[in-house]
């Protein structure tokens, strides 16, 4: 069980590096969605006894993170008619290097933190830190509004990975609430993106700089 879980977490870590190097936004959305699907699988895997409740949450996670949110983003993409993140603030190769450094730092940090019984041999904590860091990199180093939304989703994925350690402590309502908020948030954001596109004829957040000192 532990080895399967760690294998999936390694895939998540590789996806982090992939999203930092990808320029096609379609690929970015697909990578974030794949992370979501893996999260749903891991959520079921960490439980020793399968209950109906666990399966419902796992399936809901896979559906929302892996299908509903990507569909909304694809729709926004079609309406905005953009395909690539052309001018990142920091190039793709340096971004990957930064991501790799971040992953190494995450493993070091996780080794220094006191972990609960049985948690030290899992990659959950380093994977969570690294994914959160990747989300921040996307949020700060990319300029297209839609890439920043994907950055936010990756950030949320990282937090969700950490939540795997505590799935027993966080009751049903909160789990659903987390997913619902994520869903509604992205929904609203994509409406805004649509309007940004309509008003600015571009999804470049650098144009969103009238309001400053």
């Amino acid at each position: 069980m532990v080895s399967v879980l760690n294998m999936l977490l390694v895939v998540v870590l590789l996806l982090n590096l992939f999203v930092l190097g990808a320029s096609r936004i379609r690929a970015l959305i697909q990578a974030a969605a794949l992370q979501g699907v893996l999260l749903g699988l891991m959520l079921v895997l960490v439980h020793e006894h399968l209950t109906v409740r666990v399966i419902i949450i796992g399936v809901a996670t896979i559906l929302i993170k892996g299908s509903v949110i990507p569909q909304i983003l694809f729709k926004a993409l079609r309406e905005a008619q953009i395909k690539r993140e052309i001018e990142p603030i920091i190039g793709f190769l340096p971004s990957i290097l930064l991501g790799a450094l971040g992953t190494a730092a995450s493993i070091g940090l996780a080794a220094r933190l006191p972990l609960g019984a049985g948690h030290a041999q899992l990659l959950i904590v380093p994977a969570a830190f690294s994914t959160i860091f990747t989300g921040f990199l996307l949020l700060t180093l990319r300029i297209k509004a839609i890439t920043q939304v994907i950055g936010y989703l990756v950030l949320e994925n990282g937090i969700f990975i950490f939540g795997l350690l505590l799935i027993e402590a966080v009751p049903f309502l909160v789990e659903l609430g987390v997913l619902l908020d994520l869903f509604v948030g992205v929904f609203v954001i994509s409406i805004i993106i649509h309007h940004i596109n309509y008003q600015f004829a571009s999804l470049d957040t650098r144009r969103l700089s009238t309001l400053k000192e």
Partner: protein, 483 residues
């Protein structure tokens, strides 16, 4: 009862959504606000009654703690003031559909009430996120490119902040899991188990929760969304954000700080809170001097006052009472300022000192209230904020923290001078010959709510009614936990 307090505004929102006449829709707001206030007073007058009832074990999740009572009262009063003003304001904006505006406001009331009543860290987080989603479309009301830009920043910065708060909540739970303590996120059980929690995880959790909820409060340096959002939102919305959302985020921070106090980490959190408080005041002072846009100036004033709030909590002792009183004073004073600034903006069609002069001559009531609001918010006697800021200062000097007290006073002075220049330019003199004049005229609905808010600010400066005093004292006692 708490359930009813949340359901009533939701029903109102549903009603506002189905009404088709733009002219009549805003009239849904005042009755809902009145019912909410009456129910709030009923709940507050019976402190021992369980607020949720026994069904579904809800009373574990939903209950009113003493600081929550204060915030609930503030929210309800602010919303009532805002609801009447909104009718007057929307009368001048009939060209725009106000459906989203009314539904969003009522949804905001439900979400903030849920924040106040949550006794579960996760539920409170969900409710905080809901307040962001409820208010974002309100900032976008004017449908201008600038308002979209503001909404975008508000959503993105706010969502990242709230995501960090979620991570902080998880860390807090893990602090229990790692030590083999019951990992419940109910505040009562967290407070009980606080001394047993793992210290490194608790420290990390506090930093993340401070940054996360601090972003919602608008503490520097996470305040970047604030001038844009408050500057572009209609006055009524800016008032709800500056008095309502920020107070809810402050309440969240109070509850987290209380857990750390119970764990014996008061010295650690106190240092961080004092630092964030002074930093926010300093940022606000820098950006307020020479600010030409008076609505953005008010936003920086909000950053300043959020700094004062966390500073008071960081100092502790009598300053906690001061900070709680200041939360109420700040909410009401921001109501006066944002609503009167909204009227001035509406009449001149601009919000910079280049376009707006002589507001007192053209709008005698709003101009005067704007000036009085400025005096109140900068801590001049005899208004409410003077009393609360003085209490915080006395707390600082009482603990021998002369440097903190001295910096606090210095920054207040800089802000007074910086804000004064802008405000005096706006209200004094006569409108420039070429100044725009829109169809807006002062009326009862856009002026009386501001006068009511101002009367409350003045009242709190002269005399704190005994029931409120009791609520403040029991909240301060509740928050000052000693391990």
């Amino acid at each position: 009862m708490a359930v009813v307090l949340i359901i009533v505004p939701l029903l109102g929102a549903a009603l506002a959504a189905v009404i088709r006449a733009n002219r009549w829709r805003p009239w849904v707001l005042p009755p809902i606000a009145l019912v909410h206030l009456v129910l709030t007073i009923l709940v507050l007058s019976r402190p021992d009654q369980p607020v949720a009832g026994q069904w579904l074990e809800l009373d574990q999740w939903l209950a009113l703690d003493p600081p929550g009572r204060l915030v609930l009262l503030l929210l309800s009063v602010l919303f009532l003031i805002c609801s009447f003003y909104s009718i007057g304001y929307l009368y001048y904006r009939m060209e725009l559909s106000n459906r989203i505006f009314c539904v969003g406001q009522l949804f905001f009331l439900a979400a903030t009430t849920l924040v106040v009543c949550s006794r579960h860290l996760g539920l409170m987080w969900v409710a905080m996120e809901a307040t962001t989603l409820a208010t974002a479309p309100l900032i976008y009301f004017n449908r201008t490119p600038r308002s979209i830009e503001a909404t975008w920043k508000y959503l993105l910065v706010g969502s990242v902040g709230i995501a960090l708060a979620l991570l902080g909540s998880f860390f807090l739970a893990y602090a229990a899991v790692q030590k083999g303590v019951d990992p419940s996120l109910l505040f009562d059980s967290l407070l009980r188990n606080a001394p047993l929690l793992s210290k490194p995880w608790l420290h990390a959790a506090f930093v993340l929760l401070l940054v996360g909820y601090g972003t919602k409060m608008g503490l520097a340096p996470m305040h970047t969304w604030k001038p844009d959002a408050y500057g572009e939102a209609p006055g009524a919305v800016a008032m709800l954000l500056a008095g309502g959302v920020t107070s809810c985020a402050f309440l969240a921070l109070l509850r987290v700080n209380q857990i750390c106090l119970a764990a014996g980490e008061g010295a650690y959190t106190g240092r961080l809170l004092v630092f964030m408080g002074i930093l926010s005041m300093a940022f606000a002072a820098v950006f307020m001097v020479g600010q030409r846009d008076f609505k953005r100036m008010l936003a920086y004033s909000s950053v300043e006052h959020m700094g004062i709030l966390v500073l008071g909590i960081g100092i502790g002792g009598p300053a906690i009472f001061g900070a709680l009183l200041h939360m109420i004073n700040n909410g009401l004073t921001k109501g006066v300022l944002f609503l009167s600034a909204g009227n001035i903006h509406r009449s001149f069609g601009g919000k910079t000192v280049d376009e707006v002069q002589g507001a007192m001559r053209r709008l005698p009531i709003s101009g005067t209230l704007f000036l009085l609001g400025f005096l109140a918010v900068t801590g001049s006697p005899p208004f409410g904020p003077f009393i609360s800021e003085f209490t915080i200062l006395r707390g600082a000097f009482g603990f021998g923290r002369y440097v903190v007290g001295g910096v606090f006073l210095f920054l207040l002075l800089v802000i007074f001078i910086g804000m004064g220049r802008t405000v005096l330019t706006v209200v004094q003199g006569r409108p420039a010959p070429g100044a725009r004049r829109t169809a807006y005229r002062e009326g009862w609905l856009t002026c009386l709510p501001i006068i009511v808010a101002f009367a409350l600010v003045l009242l709190l400066g002269l005399y704190i009614p005994p029931p409120l005093d009791n609520m403040l004292k029991s909240a301060a006692r509740f928050l000052e936990v000693r391990p």
